[in-house]
């Protein structure tokens, strides 16, 4: 098991280096001139050259790359050229908002997707199976921005039950961050009113973000369960008198969860990046919105930072999935 663990972690390290290279390349192939942006709209040629020297952009690329690496190693993501703020500080502010959204969306996806997948596998080709199939196909097919607008129209405008945007009402003072996740912080401080408010704000964007994730978890889990229930070991378990509940929930589901886990890992990273659309529709102050506004301004450092964070999330999610594979499947534990 230890060998397996070390191999996986080593592989993740290599991937991290590749990711850093990639973000660096992105910043250098972008068509905008960051020095011109930094110097301002009215700057002359000499001022632009001055800015270029200030930001080290006149150095050869290998040197720039080395400096980028050393800065990253010190936890320094660089400075936004447009605002002059540290990208690291910005990310620390915006990332928890996205993380909270993704965690809730993933929780919805797993907690509904897996049981519904099991249910439709057990009721294969029955009404429940058809209903979840229609639900899953629409979940994947509906464009999130359109679906988000529809929910806003229904729950905020018509029914007046939920707010349309933001993490909290504009009149509410955000609490001092502990974890940065409002739902967690409000519970930690025992502020249930704040918890209710945060929940009412997050629920619609979380639903919109989770729908494609929920749909794909449901479909994969269903087909894997159908497969697992047909396996010889399930026949044997029935013959030996194992209870039907235990056969479905342990003997078959454990096998079906392996491919489902892979989808969950991929969807985690996918949601981190696709949150852009949802954050825009719901004006959610996360890294998606941050990346979009920076990119529009031609401000490449924040985009690099966000790319790195999203990539890291992909990697960590897949590392965790790989480790869970090792826990679930004893055949993988052999070093």
């Amino acid at each position: 098991m230890l060998g397996y663990l070390l191999r996986r972690i080593g592989l993740a390290g290599l991937m991290l280096f590749g990711l850093v290279c990639l973000t660096f390349v992105i910043s250098n192939v972008a068509p905008s001139d960051p020095a011109a942006l930094a110097a301002g709209p009215d700057a002359g040629r000499s001022q632009i050259e001055q800015a270029r020297r200030d930001y080290g952009l006149d150095k050869p690329l290998p040197e720039q790359f080395l400096r980028y690496l050393t800065d990253l190693a010190h936890g320094d993501f660089g400075r936004s050229i447009a605002t002059g703020r540290s990208v690291g500080t910005d990310l620390a502010r915006y990332f928890p908002a996205t993380l909270e959204l993704v965690i809730l969306a993933m929780a919805l996806g797993v907690l509904l997707g897996v049981p519904l997948g099991v249910l439709s596998a057990l009721r294969k080709d029955g009404p429940a199976d058809h209903a979840t199939r229609i639900f899953a196909v629409s979940g994947i097919a509906l464009p999130p921005f359109w679906f988000g607008l529809l929910l806003q129209l229904a729950f905020a405008t018509w029914l007046g039950l939920l707010p349309t945007s933001g993490r909290l009402s504009v009149f509410t003072e955000p609490p001092p961050p502990i974890t940065g996740l409002l739902l967690v912080d409000s519970l930690l401080t025992g502020n249930f009113g704040l918890f209710r408010e945060a929940l009412s704000h997050i629920i619609l964007p979380a639903i919109v973000l989770s729908l494609p994730c929920l749909a794909s978890i449901l479909r994969v889990n269903r087909s894997e369960m159908v497969e697992a229930l047909r396996m010889d070991y399930v026949t044997a378990a029935r013959a030996h008198g194992v209870t039907p509940w235990r056969i479905v929930m342990v003997h078959a589901l454990k096998n079906a969860m392996l491919p489902t886990l892979a989808i969950i890992g991929l969807r985690w990273g996918w949601m981190m990046s696709s949150t852009v659309l949802v954050e825009t529709v719901f004006d959610w102050p996360g890294i998606g919105l941050y990346a979009v506004s920076s990119a529009i301004a031609g401000d490449f450092k924040p985009v690099m930072g966000v790319t790195l964070i999203v990539g890291l999330n992909f990697m960590i999610a897949n590392l965790i999935v790989d480790l869970l594979y090792g826990v679930l499947d004893p055949r993988l534990r052999r070093a």
Binding site: D232, T235, R238, K254, D329, P330
Partner: protein, 328 residues
Amino acid sequence: MTALLEIADYRLAFDTFDGTAQVLDGIDLTLEAGGTLGIVGETGCGKSVLARSLMALNPMPPARVVSGQIRFRGSDILGMSDREMRRLRGRAISMVFQDPASYLNPLLAIGTQMEDAIRGQDAAVGERQRPRAAARARAAELLAAVGLPEPARLLDSHPHQLSGGMRQRVLIAMALAGDPVLLVADEPTTALDVTVQAQVLALIARLVAERGLALMLITHDLGVVAAACARVAVMYAGTVVEEAATADLLSRPLHPYARGLIAAVPDLDHPERRPQGIAGSIPSLITPPRGCRFHPRCPVATERCRSEKPLRREILPGRSIACHHATP
């Protein structure tokens, strides 16, 4: 006294996309308590489907009972609810499977699988499930009974860590968990190495003798039947064509198909006699031949065989043949 197991005019069909396959076409068989019956036949003759029928393990649909009864201790299995059937599984009828690698769950420890079986059987008869520790102790006892060393360590192992012979012993141990009276073994040695086959067969024979189990052994290997079964039924394309004491059948097969099977076995005492194959191949069960299902391959078939299905009749005491041309 009623027999332990009575199968009467049992017909089973599979509804497939290509049509309805008449997989079992009127099976009549009887097994007394403590009796041993071998079922032999080619792949696809329906012997495994018959074995699974005894535990209601055939998926329905596509399988569908057309007619007949399978009476176990006098009550018809085919009419039982799933709940009633679960009371029998493991506790009255148990099954040993063909390929121990695929019939053990790859992700669960041997101990977990055995405990689940033992506790599930408790639940099926409406008892309180015994604690895991008690089930585990019982599992270790069973593993020791089938001759596996270090049961405690084995319970923590996973199937991939075991050899094929060990896995099959584990499955046999699981089959014994509920002290059944009837053991159905579906090709229990086919997937094993030749050297291990003999050991596993000897184990099954010993357990059957020690515990007074009735045994229904499904195989395509006449040698296996000779070693473990007092009686044998030869199946062809979903019908039983001959049923006899094993020694009688092996020394003097009467049905043309049974004769063909015996002639196909290499004779080590007379190596100059080349084994003879049976011409042709097994018929489609969706459009089976009219009359006797064997007639297209039969060397003695006549016009009557093409039109009239032969019924199995007792032509000698304890020996019955389904052939128009059979003579004692």
